[in-house]
């Protein structure tokens, strides 16, 4: 079955399942994806257990970003994009129509490869932007801002510049601001698409530290091209590969030390040891 979502409005809104709190597990089953009728991802099944860090690795163009964007319903925003399969957030299929797309995205946050803070909003407002979008009110905004920025490892650098614009930060700071912004809505899962690819080693280390710190309260799924990073931050690792003119598939998935130490598939072994890709 192919699901075609043309917009993000939901038709079934009478049932509002109360999304729980705290980290939640994600399970993707038989996920396929198309762009303008071209199959780019086929039969991806992967469990991303609660409170763990899952790393998605694989060569460029094998569908990691596409898969990640299917996990929080961002894929359907691309014109001409289609998908099939199911994604369960703690047992609730996010594509079954019981959860709104907007609620899904609030529960499953996302950090993009290129930092995208709102440049015309202050740092403070950037952190609270997710709450404003969803019209959620909080009793103590200042505390929430501080907690979120602290979790993202940015608080000390910006605590005296709250009113400055989000665009006035360095790239690494902007990326951490985006993480703080995503954490402020208390997502249950956080998806990160190569969050460090534009950053220097210090900022990268900070963000890796952040990931380790938040992993208890939010399940993390991270795409990375950096094998050391995958080894450092993740508990579970999934290796994607797309053969020439074929859609991407998962070749092997499992505990990170197994994937890096004793993978069963030769292609995985070649990739993690830098022999191709």
């Amino acid at each position: 079955m192919t699901l075609t979502a043309t917009n993000d409005r939901n038709t079934v809104s009478d049932v509002q399942p109360t999304p729980g709190t705290g980290a939640a597990g994600l399970v993707a089953r038989e996920v396929c994806a198309w762009f303008s009728g071209r199959l780019v991802l086929e039969g991806v099944t992967l469990a991303m257990p609660r409170s763990t860090v899952t790393a998605l690795i694989g060569p460029s163009g094998c569908g990691k970003s596409t898969f990640l964007r299917i996990l929080n319903r961002m894929h359907e925003l691309v014109p001409g994009a289609q998908l099939a399969g199911s994604v369960e957030l703690d047992g609730t299929d996010i594509y079954a129509g019981r959860l709104r797309a907007t609620d899904t995205r609030r529960n499953i946050g996302m950090v993009f490869q290129k930092p995208n803070p709102f440049p015309a909003m202050s740092i403070y407002d950037n952190v609270l932007s997710g709450l404003k979008f969803s019209r959620i009110s909080v009793s103590d905004r200042d505390a929430l801002v501080e907690v979120s920025l602290t979790k993202a490892g940015l608080w000390n650098e910006v605590k005296n510049r709250m009113r400055e614009l989000g665009g006035a930060l360095s790239g690494g700071q902007q990326q951490r601001l985006c993480i703080a912004r995503a954490l402020a809505v208390e997502p249950r899962v956080l998806l990160m698409d190569e969050p460090c690819s534009a950053l220097d080693p210090t900022s990268t280390a900070r963000i890796e530290q952040t990931i380790a710190d938040i992993a208890d309260e939010v399940t993390v799924v991270i795409v990375t091209h950096n094998m050391q990073q995958a080894q450092r931050v993740s508990d579970v690792c999934a290796f994607f590969l797309a053969a020439e003119n074929e859609p991407g598939r998962i070749i092997e998935a499992g505990p990170t030390d197994v994937i890096f130490g004793s993978p069963t598939d030769e292609r995985t072994s070649d990739y993690v040891h830098g022999r191709f890709g």
Partner: protein, 330 residues
């Protein structure tokens, strides 16, 4: 040692900025000269038009003095001379404001629809249709308005005058509600929709996709994303588009001439029949008032020219001050 390294000392700091010499090539120079020449020519032309209006119109000011701005009417022949642009200026502003009040929301909604909501395949077609609406001659709008729009709108005007008369501008002193400044403004408002819509659409479509995705990924609905990302980004562009539309509305002539029945009476009741604008004054009375009449109209033209120019300059200043037509730093 295979590679000789030469150490470069700190040297003396230069005290004056260096002049960078560009040896431009001939084609480059010619093109530059041409572009610069036409640019200046336009400025010179603008200046000459203003100068011409001033010189030719000045004798009328010599007769009327400052009263030119505080008198309403056009009597330039005979013993008692009584002419000025007060009511016309007032009417011009009223028509432009009504036009903006009506046209701006429609135009911005249209632009948002075209950039954010229209089905992708129909989009180019719809954009072409909206742009085409800007190419319809204003005389057509005028004729359409008097035969189609006005008969349908007088009912609304009447209703407003009866039920909203506690708002002073919607009060009427006479029961006649056709041929009013309001209806003239309505037509002009419809005419400026495509202008405002196409400028704002261009700006909206420049909104960085990353920011839009960022908002949506935080759980924003499409409308919340538009309010918090697209509209703030497009603010500068919207302001300048509105000012462009206003420049057009201030000078609109033929559609106003067709709709508005001339009256030099300044009334705050915009729904009631009668009014005048500067453009209408010139178009209707040209060649009627003798030599003095022509001079008076030329000076009225100068006034209109100055107002429109000022508005357009302000608009372009706003656009060039903000990033890509958007207004973060306004």
């Amino acid at each position: 040692m295979a590679i000789a390294t030469e150490t470069v000392g700190p040297g003396r700091a230069p005290l004056t900025p260096a002049t960078i010499r560009n040896d431009r090539r001939k084609g480059d120079r010619v093109f530059r000269g041409f572009a610069r020449g036409t640019g200046y020519a336009t400025l010179v032309l603008l200046f000459l038009i203003g100068l011409f209006l001033f010189i030719e119109g000045w004798p009328a000011i010599h007769v009327a003095g400052w009263h030119f701005f505080t008198t309403s009417g056009f009597q330039t022949i005979g013993k008692t001379k009584h002419f000025g642009v007060e009511a016309s200026l007032y009417g011009t502003v009223v028509v432009a404001l009504v036009a903006l009040a009506v046209g701006t929301p429609v135009a911005i909604a249209t632009a948002l629809f075209l950039t954010e909501y229209a089905p992708r395949r129909l989009r180019p077609f719809m954009i072409a249709v909206v742009d085409l609406a800007a190419a319809i001659p204003s005389v057509i709008y005028g004729l359409w308005a008097i035969y189609e729009l006005q008969p349908n709108v007088v009912g609304i005007s009447g209703w407003m005058s009866r039920h909203l008369s506690w708002i002073p501008i919607f009060k009427v002193a006479t029961p006649q509600v056709n041929a009013s400044l309001f209806i003239a403004g309505l037509v002009v408002g419809i005419m400026i929709v495509p202008i405002i819509a196409s400028v704002t659409r261009e700006v909206f479509s420049l909104t960085p996709p990353g920011e839009k995705e960022g908002a949506l990924a935080l759980g924003a609905t499409r409308s919340a994303m538009i309010r918090r990302v697209v509209l703030p980004f497009g603010r500068g562009g919207m302001i300048s588009a509105v000012m462009l539309g206003m420049g057009r509305a201030l000078g609109e002539t033929i559609a106003v001439v067709i709709i508005l029945s001339e009256s030099f009476f300044i009334s705050p009741h915009i729904l009631q029949s009668g009014g005048t604008t500067v453009a209408q004054l010139i178009a209707v009375h040209f060649g009627q008032g003798g030599r003095l009449g022509t001079q008076a109209l030329l000076f009225a033209g100068l006034v209109l020219f100055a107002v429109t120019l000022a508005i357009n300059l302000a608009a372009s200043a706003i656009v060039s001050r903000s990033r890509s037509g958007a207004g973060v730093d306004l």
